[in-house]
Amino acid sequence: MVSFADFDSRGDHNWIVRDLKAARAALVAVERGCTRPKLISSVTPAGQFIGDAHETIFEVMGHLRGSGRLYRQGNTTIFLHGRTRPDGSCGPTPIVVDGIVTKVASPIIGNVLMCRALKSNPSGKGAKADQPVEYETQFPVPLPVLQQAFVSDGSMDEIPEARYIVNHPVYDKDFTWLDVGYHDLQRILVCGESFEPVFLDPPRFETPPIEVADVLNRLPPLIRRMVEGFHWNGAVDLINYIGAALMIPLMPALVEDGHPGVMFWGNQPSIGKSLAAQCLAILKDGEQASPTSVEGGAREVENQMASELNDGRTVLFIDNQKGMLNIPIIEANMTAKQLAIRGFHVQKKVRRPNDLLWLITTNDAMPSDDLLSRCIHIRLCYEGLPDSHRFAMSDGELVAFVSHNRSAILAEFAGMIGAWLAGGRPEAGSPCRFAIAGGVIGSVLTYNGLSGFLSNTREEIRENSAKQQQLIELVGRIIDSRLPGFMWEIDGDIDVADAVFKKEGPPKSPMEQKDWVPYLIGVGAIPPSCDTPQKQKKAVTQYMGSVVKVPIEVAYGEVTVQAMIVSRPLRSRRSCYVLAVCGLPPAPGGAPESSSDPSWLAGADADDEASTESAADMPDDEAGSADIKELGESLWD
């Protein structure tokens, strides 16, 4: 017969000690707000299987799937890390990239699954004298076991796919509001704090906003509080900023068609460009973005981007850029539907939908044309010493305000979209390289009384594009010198000039690539390294191909002149170009005599003969048609 004294010993029979130990561990887990992992005992620390390996793999994957924290995104398997549910501050952490288990997978999976093994100490001597004869050890699931589990047939089939993982409620591409949780139909995992769109009764405005104050008066209260302290250059800049923020709750709807980046300009440093960008980053990810350096080449940029993605961040922030800004890896990925980035230490590329928010700030950088055309341009302007300006809130206060009210602010943005949806989705989109982004966001803004979205894009590109600047200079010089054969003054619509030029016969003196070489060298459009006729011809062809049919406006005295380089093919795979000009006033004192030898023209003498030769090749049987007469006949006279 057993008495209670016999229970005062170690062993499974001592249920009170066992229960209280388990209760204490559970108490700690409950107070910490997270649960303890399940334990399996059929693997060794070295990764060997005890018993049937297939059964253990099935058990491991069953536990992981059952945790509800495992999702597939692109070629990556994501584990929700930090919280057991999508709500709160959980972070999606990649644990398998293209079938390769990452080094952090074991400890992260240890949140839900651990292994245990019994160790024996039969001698009870030496350093282990104090240890019991048999004791339990626990350890993370070894990497080989995880690797085997994740590549076993069918193991990934039942893991839900999360095409998008966002940490705030969003609209899907059908404009259905998705709150926190996994949405099987849309394959979207929404983490973070739950909220609903705030439907404010938008005041009806018939007239577009003129001043920044007009825009502020039309904004919901928290959004207004967030943006009112910045020194916006004009109403369109603030509207563009609101439009950029609207991309955040609309992102799943914009990925398929692509979405623009956001480029912040400032007339001088320290006027809030980075702060404005960080506010968007906080709205998107819930925390400030760490700047990505573009120094070190494309590989380094890729590494940094992969690092941000691996941290669960969806904002790429390139801060305070200077000089030439030509980053093909960013330009390529910014418009791509799917990101493909090779991360550090990983031989495979991370592939996932491009739901990133791309933020760039600069004062005087010279971005490439590709980058300029891919961005929403927001300009801040403050006249005076930077230190003398004051925001409505200090930087820290504003960051704290946006962080603290992130959900409420996003709810107001979502409410603006919701109001547009409730109003029947009236279309009033803005012309944009990204049709859906421009159409939807422009319509939402217009419905909420904020028309003019992206209306500054062409002007910003013209002002900031190095190629545009070269073209303007080239046009200015040609107009100033009024060189015969290079300029075609027309009176009609300049947009049809190219068609007319191609339709009619070649001009009397067609200016081919070799004729344009000195002009392009003069404005720096052709690098000095092009020192042979073949190289020069190729460079001219390449440059002209990029500027032909591009309408530009240049100031000439008191008037604005419309201009466009037009082209037409000649025989023998040659082409001729001419600058069509509209609205050019007569030159004071008539055309310059020195038109064939302007002082800035490099190498003009060498080309005189060539120009004559090319003119001799001209077929003149097609000249003098009605279209030419309508526009201007100077080239064919």
Partner: protein, 309 residues
């Protein structure tokens, strides 16, 4: 019939009464430690077929056929249970039982004091024979000595007492947290000599006024003590006291203070037993003893022998 660890006497009896059979094969409900959760037994393995050894012989499940017992024919009498989780459903055990993973809301915690497993040499024959006597002579005093236990409701279920700690607001939890709360509930039941075979959070009580049909004639469930709701923080603090300083708690609850004379273990004249650490008590007569002995001594030797297995 020998019970596996983790099987509830209650559930076992329930199924025996109802003519059901329980499979003991491995199942998805098997715990990591090898034991089998009772919830699985009740919910998943109950087979609605009459067993040859059914107690009432009628094989009519939970329904105690009045005709078969010769009592006045009336409405069939159900062995009604009340869940303390989720929607606090009432009904036959096999209908309202849930698995731990299926618990979404916890309304209370239960300690089952089963007269049949207690030691008459320690508690007295009357207390072991009658649940009401057990309450009046011992349990009421134990409860009064702790601020959390003092708020417990006590029900006389016929063969024992259900000490119920009701929460003012249900604790909402997912499946993973439910496992933690189940462990906490199992710890809490050891504050008193509760039946270790009973489940944690998915244990079921019997509603007041229901009939316990395990006995003949059936016994009515009565409320012996009205309870008062406690908060989540109170239950966590209580669990911490049970798990961190059990010696102090058990000495206070069972003996009325942290030192008692004579020593309840050796009962030697002039001896005294006092708290000597979180898990230890010390008597200068019988020496240092584990605090758990303060609880184990309340269980009968037959029960302990069966547990030792």
């Amino acid at each position: 019939m020998e019970l596996d660890e983790g099987f509830s006497d209650e559930a076992w009896d329930e199924n025996a009464d109802s003519g059901c059979e329980i499979s003991r094969g491995s199942s998805p409900g098997e715990r990591d430690d090898g034991a089998v959760g009772v919830a699985d037994d009740v919910a998943a393995r109950v087979v609605d077929e009459p067993a040859p050894d059914a107690v009432d012989g009628g094989g009519d499940g939970d329904i105690d056929s009045a005709g078969a017992t010769g009592r006045e024919p009336a409405q069939p009498v159900f062995d009604e249970r009340e869940a303390i989780v989720n929607d606090r459903a009432r009904g036959p055990a096999h209908e309202i039982a849930v698995k731990v993973e299926e618990v979404a809301a916890i309304h209370g915690f239960m300690i089952d004091l089963d007269c049949g497993i207690l030691n008459p040499d320690v508690l007295g024959a009357d207390a072991v024979a009658s649940a009401e006597a057990l309450y009046n002579e011992h349990v009421s005093h134990w409860l009064d000595r702790d601020p959390v236990l003092a708020k417990a409701e006590v029900r006389d279920t016929g063969g024992g007492l259900h000490v119920l700690l009701w929460l003012d607001q249900p604790i909402l939890c997912g499946s993973e947290e439910a496992r933690e709360w189940d462990a906490i509930a199992r710890g809490i039941r050891n504050a008193l000599p509760g039946d270790p075979s009973v489940n944690g959070i998915i244990a079921m009580t019997r509603p007041v006024g229901a009939l316990n049909t395990k006995y003949e004639p059936p016994r009515e469930v009565r409320q012996l003590r009205e309870g008062h709701p406690i908060t989540r923080d109170e239950i966590l603090a209580f669990d911490r006291r049970v798990t961190d300083h059990p010696a102090r708690l058990w000495m206070t609850v069972f003996c009325g203070g942290e030192r008692v004379s004579p020593c309840p273990m050796c009962r030697a004249e002039g001896s005294s037993l006092g708290v000597a650490g979180s898990w230890q008590c010390r008597c200068y007569g019988c020496g240092r003893v584990s605090a758990a002995s303060l609880v184990y001594r309340f269980f009968s030797n037959d029960f302990l022998t069966k547990r030792m297995g």
